[in-house]
Symmetry: C2
Subunit: 148 residues, 2 copies
Amino acid sequence: MVTTDGENAIIRSDCHTRRGLELIADQWTMLVIVALHRDTKRFSQLHAQIEGISKKMLTQALRGLERNGLVKRVVYPVVPPKVEYSLTPLGLTLIEPIQALRAWSEQHIEQAEQARVVYDQQDRKSLQDDIIALIQQRANGSLESQGR
Amino acid sequence: MVTTDGENAIIRSDCHTRRGLELIADQWTMLVIVALHRDTKRFSQLHAQIEGISKKMLTQALRGLERNGLVKRVVYPVVPPKVEYSLTPLGLTLIEPIQALRAWSEQHIEQAEQARVVYDQQDRKSLQDDIIALIQQRANGSLESQGR
DNA sequence: CCGTATCCAAGGGGATACTG
DNA sequence: CAGTATCCCCTTGGATACGG
């Protein structure tokens, strides 16, 4: 009996994939990398460019990227302060896989969101059904107690 | 004056990329997709295969994937219950970009983690320096108050 | 300008027990 | 087996104020 098995291997918590995901698998980190694609940027530029990110979250994402050698941080000792962020050579290697994700989003996100609409409609529908069934039950209950 | 500008465009909260990231950019979802790569799997199989995931988190990830049309859920009305999960055609299209991330991890994760060790060492070092400086300050302080 | 420090409300997520 | 429900702690993340 031949078991290729590769598909059923345990995805260990210390496998390369998971350690990789720990670095970038959140809502902000990949966006910061996208924003730094090609250009060096200042903190305030990034903050303005990524809609909705707070300073706290931006700082957090940048620190994580810097810590893992994906982003370089350069402080200019001037007043007012000036700090520039850029991708390191290692950080640049992430552009390709992230672009793949962006391309997927361009092509497929609408289909996924349409599926979601259908799913949520079904959800609401069965919720309604449940409520109707519940009302039926209660109605029967009061009829019974009236009957006795 | 020519401004290509493409690099400085605002990353809007409703752009395709961000809507795509909302679907999969967390610690578990992509792993579930990886686990379902090729094979249909039962809930318990997935739970066993993805080390460290709780039933709650697995359920949550699967519901999200199902909701967005990336995973198909089939319930067999038998005792004991049996539920099978598999990637939809749409879900299958995600394999490629995710494989790109896995490949990146294989190639680069060690370099990133080495950078992290260096970064953390520097952190500890400057913390030590700060403590030393603090002790110096206090020592000077007590000398001054003694002097008077 | 580029953050850090602090406070605080909201929710994430584990442990456990329970159901069909 | 495949979840759901509940409790509860602890983290997350926004708002605000402050510091270099």
